[in-house]
């Protein structure tokens, strides 16, 4: 709700600033010391859990991130332990097969990373996470083309459980992940609708060219931790445009990796709802 309001305010701002202009500019920025970046996910069920290790680079480096190879990654829950295996075809990626490991709700998982050579004067990094229980169950979804914003809106029909919940929503069309970048991901807190039934809450917005009648659409919904919700929100704030009227000072999102590393290690389960889009000018509701 608040992001929606802020976006409206920014729209208002853009209408007001009739004489404003934007242009690219050249600017010299110093480069800070290199840091490790950890992007890690634990999943239950059939999905393999994986970790990606890269490093930071100069802001205008304009190259893919440098992959960190030959690291040792271990996972334990206090009783059992697992080892991540490097993925040969994707340097910097380490995975555990679904048949080796499945994340369970309520357990605390510790991640240990040991590098073969130091980054930022450190070779050892740690993190921990827990997987919230999957409390959301999708009764139905609605897909509607909204002519006022010229986009597809995806509506959720589900009950929010009583108590604090944080959600992550993703979209796939014909099995391809559409929300494949931070700005596209939708994270929600149930602050304004705790314990209520959601009669068509808009949870995703797709560009008009991303969905066509006849396509297979899939909505993924996950319960996530508050820390991960704050992290994604923080990244979305920083990747968005800023202006002196509405934006606070830029700041780095708070990750959960030790040793000064960036990134986040998280765990969540996902429920999906999959439909074939019918051609229709009105809202399509799928049960």
């Amino acid at each position: 709700m608040k992001k929606h309001l802020l976006h409206i305010s920014l729209l208002f701002l853009s209408l007001l600033v009739l004489a404003s202009c934007t242009e690219r500019m050249s600017i010299d920025l110093p480069t800070a010391n290199q840091k490790l970046v950890v992007e890690g996910y634990l999943f239950p069920g059939d999905s393999s859990s994986w970790i990606r290790l890269t490093t930071t680079s100069a802001y205008f480096a304009n190259q893919p991130p440098h992959a960190v190879l030959n690291a040792s990654l271990g996972l334990d829950d206090g009783h059992e332990s697992w080892v991540f295996h490097p993925l040969a075809q994707k340097p910097g990626y380490y995975f555990i097969n679904a048949n080796e490991f499945t994340a369970l709700p309520g357990k605390i998982y510790h991640l240990n990373i040991q590098l073969s050579s130091p980054i930022g004067n450190e070779t050892h990094f740690e993190s921990q996470t827990t997987m919230p229980p999957l409390r959301i169950h999708i009764d139905s979804i609605g897909i509607q083309y909204a002519p006022d914003i010229k986009n597809w809106v995806i509506r959720l029909y589900a009950r929010d459980s009583v108590g604090k919940d944080f959600y992550l929503f993703n979209s796939r069309v014909n099995d391809r992940l559409i929300t494949d970048s931070i700005p596209r991901k939708s994270v929600r807190s149930d602050e304004f609708f705790d314990g209520r039934y959601l009669h068509g809450l808009i949870v995703q917005v797709l560009n008009k060219d991303e969905l066509h009648p006849g396509d297979l659409y899939q909505l993924d919904a996950s319960n996530i931790t508050e820390a991960y919700y704050n992290y994604i929100q923080g990244l979305q704030l920083e990747i968005g445009n800023k202006n002196p009227l509405f934006s606070g000072p830029p700041a780095n999102a708070q990750g959960n990796i030790s040793g000064g590393a960036l990134g986040f290690f998280t765990a969540f389960a996902t429920t999906s709802f999959r439909v074939k889009l019918q051609a229709s000018k009105s809202i399509n509701k799928y049960n």
Binding site: M1, K2, L5, I8, S9, L11, F12, L13, L15, L16, A19, S20, C21, T22, E23, R24, M25, S26, I27, L29, P30, T31, A32, Q34, K35, V37, E39, T54, T55, T56, S57, Y59, F60, N62, Q63, P65, I182, F192, I232, Q233, G234, L235, L237, E238, I239, N241, K242, P244, L245, F246, S247, G248, P249, P250, A251, N252, A253, Q254, L262, G263
Partner: protein
């Protein structure tokens, strides 16, 4: 410590009263100083009696009083922009001497300036204060044709805009919520139209503005950095007049005149933008359905009941509206002041005021939208205050009084009205508070060279119920809450706020001044953006949030040219703040009932040196001001607890303001401003996460935007007045940003959508070269 301060102060006051009791028989000259043609009171006029070298200054309502022994005196009355008067007065008894001054004619040449006339800044026991008349502000090149007193204040030393196009400003490094803005004693909480591009002060309705930079008089408090006193015109008590203008953005009209000649008068002034009126002419529904405008309405009634009693009633109503088929938003201020001036005696003047003010905003999606909602918020004040000026004797002028403000904070409520709306109603609880103060102050002329100015303000802040107080642990997580039922006081803060100054007059044209002030701020704005916006909310001190306490010491040297045509001043200051407030990274300030947990508390400090050279008279007039200043914060939980530059830290600030009278009908104006670029936070590296390239930011405010500079020009052309016609017309041509400098408003760092793995920097600048023309009339 607080008790010791109080005792010392009381001893000083008692000594002054004793001195009064021991003097020889004196007679009192008192009266009102007014404008000859309009009857407007002139506040701050100098009344100087040459023979005993004694003088005084008229108070905020034009009243003065001066007690001297019997004798024959030359009494000189002067006021900036007006012809001085010299009166030979035989004084044998108490005498009422009402003075009317004429506005200075523009063809007055430098050689005609009387000596000793305008050394007010030397002798006046005030420092860090600037007073500007609207007549001089109107000569400054204007932005889009709108004369704006806030933008004029930003040309003074120590005052900077917070962002281009914003009505917020920073005084000596402080935040925009640290400025107390009063319009006829009513607080104006959000002084900006159109997101701050224009201020709410209609130049036709205002007579003058006075800025106090930290050294607030004891009668005022509640803000750390400044007091901006805007006075509305009282209305011409002698004849009817109208003023108006048609500009690029807005049109304005003002009427004033007597209700009963020399006894009562009225003033009504309105201004409205009209771009939306043209939009309605479009046949395109998407264009003609837009509503975008703002308006101001200023009204004043002025009633002289008898020679000892005077009533004023003034009001301001202003609003901004933006509305179309998809979205609607409006915000605005309204204020009302009822004031009674009473003369108890020739030496004791009282002012009693009842003031109300409100700021509110509403926004949402229209009812036709299935996702329709409405979001409202407001802040209301009711203030009762009383102040007394006691012209004790030629060497002592006491002022004392009290003020009580009831604050009603309504932080916000959202109601879902559309059939697809997710929420029914979400409301943040109201907050109530009482902010009271008692004060006493004295200006004491110790010797012919030395004047002391001292005062004490005792402020009290009560939180009133009902309320819910949340408690937090050291990680700012909520641990529990306490509900306070009923409307009683559940928490109190109180403070002593001493105000002290010394003025040592070296000779007739130079003086040294020093001051110390403590100010306490109990309410502040939840705003972490640089410029602020109408959605910002104010919140009070409470058991979780201590009041901010600011101290300032200042030292100044003032020198005039012998004829008084040039004024120079050099001031240096140091200020420090305890319990300084900032907001955590990614603070959630909108509709957050746990707002207290978003704050981080620490300290702030700043220092600077301010130079000003002013030419007051002649064909060429204006000023040059230069400030070097720094402003820093150190807040636990922000920037890893390390010191960082405040958002308003801009070390170099230079303003050149010139006005050249080519001939009686043609006037050229020039403004050139230069400021060090704003302190900002830029990325120092980048990383990839979740399929996106993301910046890794430096420590807070470690970088700077490019320096800001801009030249504005204006030409004011008075059209020939036809014989026998009362109407006077003029055209004003202004060019903002003459050399089209692209001053960055913000620099963003973007992912390049066309080139994989690529990023770039993008600058947004607001205004290139902007010419405007405004037609003005007066009759």
């Amino acid at each position: 410590m607080r008790n010791r301060c109080l005792i010392i102060f009381l001893c000083l006051i008692i000594a002054s009263v004793e001195l009064h009791a021991q003097t020889t028989k004196l007679f009192t000259i008192d009266g009102q100083i007014k404008d000859q043609s309009s009857g407007e009171s002139l506040a701050g006029a100098t009344v100087y009696v040459q023979e005993p070298s004694s003088g005084t200054i008229s108070n905020a309502y034009g009243f003065y009083s001066l007690s001297i022994p019997a004798g024959i005196y030359h009494v000189q009355i002067s006021y900036i922009g007006y012809q001085s008067k010299l009166i030979l007065l035989p004084l044998v008894s108490d005498t009422t001497l009402n003075i009317r001054l004429n506005i200075q004619q523009s063809q007055l040449r430098e050689v005609e300036i009387k000596s000793g006339e305008s050394h007010e800044n030397i002798v006046r026991p005030l420092m860090s204060v600037h007073k500007m008349e609207m007549s001089s502000i109107e000569k400054i090149p204007s932005f889009l044709g709108e004369v704006d007193l806030v933008k004029a204040l930003e040309l003074l030393p120590g005052v900077k805009f917070v962002a281009e196009g914003s009505s917020g400003f920073s005084v000596r490094g402080g935040g925009s919520d640290q400025n107390l803005m009063l319009l006829d004693e009513a607080t104006v909480y959000n002084a900006g139209h159109l997101m701050g591009f224009f201020s709410v002060f209609n130049s036709d309705a205002v007579t003058s503005v006075t800025l106090y930079k930290g050294d607030l008089p004891p009668a005022y408090g509640g803000r750390l950095s400044s007091l901006v006193e805007v006075r509305m015109k009282e209305g011409n008590a002698r004849s009817y007049h109208a003023n108006g203008g048609i500009g690029l953005i807005s049109s304005r009209l003002q009427f004033e005149g007597p209700i009963k000649k020399d006894k009562s008068s009225f003033m009504i002034s309105g201004r409205r933008t009209y771009a939306d009126l043209f939009l309605r002419l479009s046949s395109n529904k998407k264009i003609n359905s837009n509503r975008l405008y703002f308006y101001d309405l200023n009204t004043k009634l002025n009633l002289s009941i008898n020679k000892n009693n005077h009533l004023f009633l003034s009001g301001y109503f202003g609003k901004d509206v933006f509305k179309n088929d998809f979205f609607q938003m409006n915000w605005g201020n309204s204020t009302g002041t009822l004031r009674w001036n009473h003369l108890f005696s020739k030496k004791l003047f009282a002012n009693v005021s009842f003031v109300v003010s409100q700021f509110n905003y509403n926004l949402g999606l229209p009812a036709t939208n299935p996702r329709a909602f409405s979001w409202q918020s407001s802040l209301s004040d009711k203030n009762f205050r009383s102040s007394f000026d006691w012209f004790l004797n030629p060497k002592n002028k006491l002022n004392f009084g009290f003020s009580v403000i009831h604050h009603d904070f309504f932080p916000g409520k959202i109601i879902g009205t559309g059939q697809e709306s997710v929420i029914d109603e979400y409301r943040l609880p109201d907050n109530y508070a009482l902010e009271s103060a008692f004060y006493i102050g004295n200006e004491q002329k110790v010797t012919g060279h030395l004047t002391l100015k001292y005062g004490l303000r005792v402020s009290i802040f009560n939180n009133l119920g009902p309320a819910t107080i949340y408690h937090f642990d050291t990680a700012y997580s909520i641990t529990d809450s306490v509900v306070k039922n009923g409307s009683g006081i559940y928490h109190t803060y109180w403070s002593l706020e001493p105000r002290m100054g010394i003025i040592y007059q070296l000779n007739g044209i130079s003086s040294l001044k020093a001051s110390y002030t403590r100010n306490v701020q109990y309410i502040q704005k939840a705003q972490n953006s640089t410029a602020g916006n109408p959605l910002d909310i104010w919140f009070p001190a409470n058991p979780n949030i201590k009041p901010q306490i600011g101290d300032q010491v200042a030292l100044g040297y003032y020198r005039d040219s012998p004829k008084g045509n040039f004024e120079t001043s050099l001031e240096t200051y140091y200020k420090w703040t305890k319990n300084a407030i900032d907001f955590k990274d990614h603070a959630d300030l909108l509709l957050n009932k746990y707002l207290d947990s978003e704050l981080r508390i620490g300290r702030a400090y700043g220092y600077g040196i301010e130079f000003m050279l002013k030419k007051k008279q002649g064909k060429l007039s204006g000023w040059l001001s230069y400030t070097y200043s720094r402003s820093f914060r150190q807040i636990a939980g922000i920037n890893a607890g390390k010191i960082y530059p405040a958002p308003y830290d801009r070390p170099n600030d230079l303003s050149l303001v010139l006005n050249f009278e080519l001939n009686p009908r043609l006037n050229l104006g020039l403004t050139w401003v230069y400021l060090t670029g704003q302190a900002v936070t830029f990325p120092e590296s980048r990383f990839v996460y979740g399929g996106s390239i993301l910046p890794v930011y430096s420590s807070r405010n470690a970088f700077r935007l490019p320096d800001y500079h801009r030249l504005d020009l204006s030409l004011n052309w008075k059209l020939k007045q036809k014989k026998g016609k009362k109407i006077a017309q003029s055209l004003n041509f202004s060019i903002y940003n003459v050399y089209n400098r692209k001053n960055p408003w913000v620099i963003n760092f973007e992912n390049d959508p066309d080139v994989p793995n690529s990023t770039y920097a993008e600058m947004t600048y607001l205004f290139g070269i902007l010419p405007t023309v405004t037609y003005n009339f007066h009759f």
